[in-house]
Structures are given as C-alpha cells and as structure tokens.
Subunit: 223 residues, 2 copies
DNA sequence: GTCAACGTTCATGTATACAAATTTTTTCCT
DNA sequence: AGGAAAAAATTTGTATACATGAACGTTGAC
C-alpha cells in the first residue's frame, strides 16, 4: 500500500470512540476492523496499541481489545487528575497568557454563550472543549497542553452520559464566566481553584448518574 | 512461542533506557533488537510503539525509533508538568495518607538519609525515586499515581546527567525533609509548594548543565 | 434438568514474506 | 578533487501464514 495506514486508522478509531460511535466496553475485533478498513491486521493492531496507550482502548492479553470502560473508582480518579492538571493550566495561563491567548479564550467563551442562549447541547460540547483547550494553550507549555488534551479526549465518552443532567449547560457556563474573570484579572490562584471545582463537580455529576444507572439496571434485573 | 513476548520486551527496553544503557538519541534498530532478544520484528515493533506512547522512545515514520532525546524546551516543559503533578500528589497525600503511607514515606526518607551519609550517589537515586513514589501512592489515587510514575521514568534518563552537580544530594535531601515535615503536619498547601520548588529546581539544574555541555561542544567544534 | 468435561471453533500473538522508501555507496561529470 | 546523480542496500511498513490459548457449544453423567 502507498501511505502510512496506522496513523489514519488511529485517528479514525479515536474519532469513533470520542464521538460515541464506539461505546465504552465494546469489543474491537481485529479481523472485523481490518475488513472494515480494507487493511491487514498488522496496522490495526498497531493503531489499537497506540489507542491503548492514550487510554481510549483497553487491551488484555489473549482477550482482545475493548473500548475503555472506566469503573466508578477509575472515573473519579481520572476526573481528579483532570481537575489537578486543568487547575495547573489555569494558574500558569493567568500568569503567562498573551493577547492572542486572551482572544482565543474569549472567542471560545462566546461560542459557549451562543450555545447556551440557543439551548443547543450539541453545539455546547465542542465549544466547551475549545474553551478548555484555549486555556491549555495559554500556558505556553506544549507538553502540559498535550497531556491535558489527551485526558480531555479520554474522558469525552463519559461526558456524553451527562447530557440528561438538567440545567447542566447553564451551570457550566456560569462557572466558565467565573474562571474567565479570574484569568483575565491575572488571579492565578482563584482561576486554579475555580477550574478545579468546575472539573471535579463534573466528575461528581457522572458518579451520581452512573450510580443511578446501575440502580436502574439492578432493579431491571431483579424485577 | 510460549508466553507473551511483547510485555517482557517492553520492560527490558524500558529498563535499558531508564538505567541509561541505551542513551537518549540512540537508534533502536528493529532487526538488531529482534536478533538480540531472539524474536521476530513483530513483538519488537509493538514494544517500541508502547514505549513511544509512554514517552521513552520517539518513532518517526519511515525513519525508525530512537531513544527520546528531549530538547531544552521540552525538558523544561516536562519538568514543569512533573512539578505540577507532584505538587498535586503532595497536597492530596497530606490530606489522605494513612499510617501505612506515612511509614512508607518515612522508610524511603531513611534510605535517602543513609545514602547521603555514605555519599553514595548510586544508592540515592533509587531511594529518591521511592520517596517520591511513596507520596504518589499516599494520594490513594491510582490513576494519578500511575501518571506520576510514568513521568518519573520518562525523565529518569536526564536525571543521570545531574550526577556531576556538586552537593546535589545534600540539597535534595534537605528539601525532602521540609516536604516530609509539611506532609506529616497535614499542611497540604506547604507540602505542594515545597514539592513544586523541589522538582522545578531540578529542571533548572538540568538546564544549566545542558547549556554548559552545549557550550563545551560548540567550543570543541570551533577549536 | 443442571452441571461438568470434552472437543471444536475462533481470535490473538508471533513469524515470515514482500513492497516501498530512505539511506548509503558508487560512479560520472565538471 | 569535489560534488551531484544514480544504483545498491538497508530498513520500515504491511500482508500473509501459522501456532497457541481462549471462548463456545456439545455431550455425557448425576
């Protein structure tokens, strides 16, 4: 074959997972994927290994690859890590961001506001992701930014579950405003603390939702 | 073949890199490694891909795999990320650690003290790593701890360069004592700040060293 | 009727084969 | 002799083949 296949395969599978077309826990059959993409198992395996490294896929020896399904504990811990990293980003961004960073953050915030005004969930998600990513970029630290982005993607499949939480968008946007205020005032400590709370509360919301879903499942099984 | 080879290969190569037997920048020839380990290229490639994901190896399409060689900028940024993550670990550990965690931290600190007393560099390195790892574990957050450990290993090859910095061990140990004091007093904010400074100053020491080395090289080339 | 043991089937893990690309070496021209 | 172009050689990326281990269904016994 002509070009390098593995990177394209990795991106395609990553998009499928992040976008929710492949659900957490779903099996990723090598031969099936190979047929679907018209390649051999070799580049499929290499792509899966890379996805496993970034946390989107879980490979267990002789048991195949599955879309990562985080348990309650891992989910809480992952959100705590995300909260810590994002808080660090906010603190550093408050101290270092330039005019372009400021503009990018404000622009993403504007997109969020538009989505809230239109009550458009589908539009709020990417705008929210861009708002956070703009803060990562404003740190000027690419290694840190890449790490934050990796975690953001790994947790994205679980954010989808949160769609049903009532008035989620409004609360999220209000928190964003408080974060932006602290950032633009150059108050790194306040920005960090607000970001930490913003991310942690998301994790807690998931936990409630997951607990509710599991209770439903238990009830369904018992009934 | 009998067992799964890829995990063993990954560990062996990881050890070689972390221990400095494979130097940053060094080429990792697939067929050479395959012959050395008595396996085919397939598991070697898979191990290299995993190492690339954890940051120890750098793979560029059609140009082969090399032991990761961080440039000055990436090195500074990586140490900043490490400092932020370790600071988070310290803050959380101060709030959550139990008696067993306390004992593990104190034990590792004792090993560091012994190495300092004996002026034994070779013994200080692993003891230092265990001291930091004990703090990661004391957070009770395995995801966060795994992330901290991954970074610790990825940066280990560069710590080796620091051997020549005079009185490094004494300064490091004094900083450890201050960190331990804050941790055991339950002062998360102080512990976090002291850990952050402790890690950041290491990064700065490397930078000075690297700058000096590069100047030497330039001088050698010019002379 | 349920459970366990066995055998079949299928997927994974590794080896080998082949093609494309990069690097190195050689050769030719200035 | 120095450099550029071409050819050889090495190396990566992918495909295919094969062996081992796991999942599944079937059959038998209690």
């Amino acid at each position: 074959m002509r070009g390098e296949q593995t990177p394209k395969l990795r991106e395609a599978l990553e998009d499928d997972i992040v976008a929710g077309r492949l659900r957490p826990g779903q099996r990723l059959d090598e031969v099936g994927l190979a047929e679907r993409f018209g390649v051999s198992r070799t580049p499929i395996r290499e792509a899966l290994i890379q996805l496993a490294a970034s946390g989107l896929v879980d490979i267990r020896p002789r048991r195949g690859a599955h879309v990562t399904l985080l348990g309650p504990r891992e989910l809480v811990e992952s959100f705590e890590l995300m909260a810590e990293i994002e808080a660090s980003c906010a603190r550093l961004a408050a101290a270092r961001m330039g005019a372009a960073d400021r503009a990018a953050i404000a622009a993403a915030h504007g997109e969020c506001r538009a989505a809230v005004a239109a009550s458009d969930d589908a539009a709020y998600y990417p705008a929210n992701a861009r708002f956070h990513a703009a803060i990562y970029a404003a740190t000027g630290n690419r290694v840190l930014g890449a790490e934050a982005l990796r975690l953001q993607r790994a947790l994205q499949p679980y954010r989808r579950l949160q769609l049903k939480v009532p008035r989620r968008m409004d609360a999220s946007f209000a928190e964003h405003e408080a974060i932006l205020e602290a950032l633009f005032a150059g108050d790194g400590a306040a920005a960090a603390e607000r970001v930490r709370a913003h991310v942690l509360v998301q994790g807690e919301r998931f936990m409630s939702l997951i607990a509710a879903l599991e209770q439903e499942e238990d009830a369904a099984r018992a009934g």
